[in-house]
Amino acid sequence: MAGTALRRRLGHRRLTARLVETRDETATARTLRFAVPGWPGHLAGQHADVRLTAEDGYTAQRSYSLSAPADGEFVELTVQLVPDGEVSPYLVRDIEVGDEVELLGPLGGWFVWRPEQPGPVLLIGGGSGIAPLRAMLRARSAASPPFRLLYSVRTPSDVYFAGELDSPDVTLLYTREAPDGVERTPHRIDAADLTAYGLPAAEEPTCYVCGPTSFVETVTGLLIDAGHDPARVRAERFGG
């Protein structure tokens, strides 16, 4: 459609997304699958801005990572409930299959992993920060370079995408409470964790760090202290 192509070139990429499926990740987070006619596809790590419009015309807009790789005209978002928040309670509790929101996207070109990109990949996520990293993990193929994922969660019941993470490349770092059989005593990610479960700076991985701002600040600092080149440390702060 010439109109769509032209609008895309002009940067106006606001599309109507219809909710087609939801999956609970935890008691306070869920993945929303939308059908988005005209969606041009996306790169793993990109996000979309969701705009809600109330009947009186009031609008609210927030950013959400695309938590699955490109899949035709479908996108997935994975949203954590922020108590007293304006937008996340609607997305986690209220929106129903068939309801529509507006999406602006795909957005961003920095916090992305491209399949043709050389070099290993170190993903470090905290809480809902797993969302774009899960898209990267699923976008890789047998031909991709080595990946490592460190995923910081409070307790076993806070793990998103639980069924998908059972892999030697993935380490869950529990901060409050760990399941039986996990040797590491629960604590916040530290330098020893990076050494034990990450990739050495000498292998020059591209590092992707995502989650609440305080988590990202801590982890980017640890990576740089461990000798990773700041130019290869990419971060996405969710706020909070």
């Binding site: 927030r62 070109g109 920095w110 990419r234 702060r237 969710f238």
Partner: protein, 88 residues
């Protein structure tokens, strides 16, 4: 704890209403200290009606973006040069 600031990734949507290219990957040189880096790596404060992006080197304001019913205002005086890469 932190102040909950964001980073330049959050500017991708707002700036897409002004620029046709993906600007968060563009390399911005700070008019204050001369430091260069992708706009995506700037510290970003405030949301959702307006944003201020600050230089991670010297904290100077690189860019201000404000949306109002009367129109959108973009102040980029803190950026000496903005170099768009051809990769996107």
């Amino acid at each position: 704890m932190t102040d909950g600031h964001l980073d330049g990734n959050a500017l991708a949507g707002p700036l897409s209403t002004v620029f046709t290219a993906e600007v968060t990957t563009a390399v911005a040189a700070c008019a204050g200290c001369g430091r260069s880096g992708p706009l995506a790596a700037a510290r970003v404060y405030g949301a959702p009606m307006g944003y201020v992006a600050r230089c991670p080197g010297c904290d100077q304001v690189l860019l201000r973006y404000a949306e109002a019913p009367a129109g959108t205002t973009l102040d980029m005086r803190g950026i000496a040069t903005l170099r768009l890469t051809t990769a996107d």
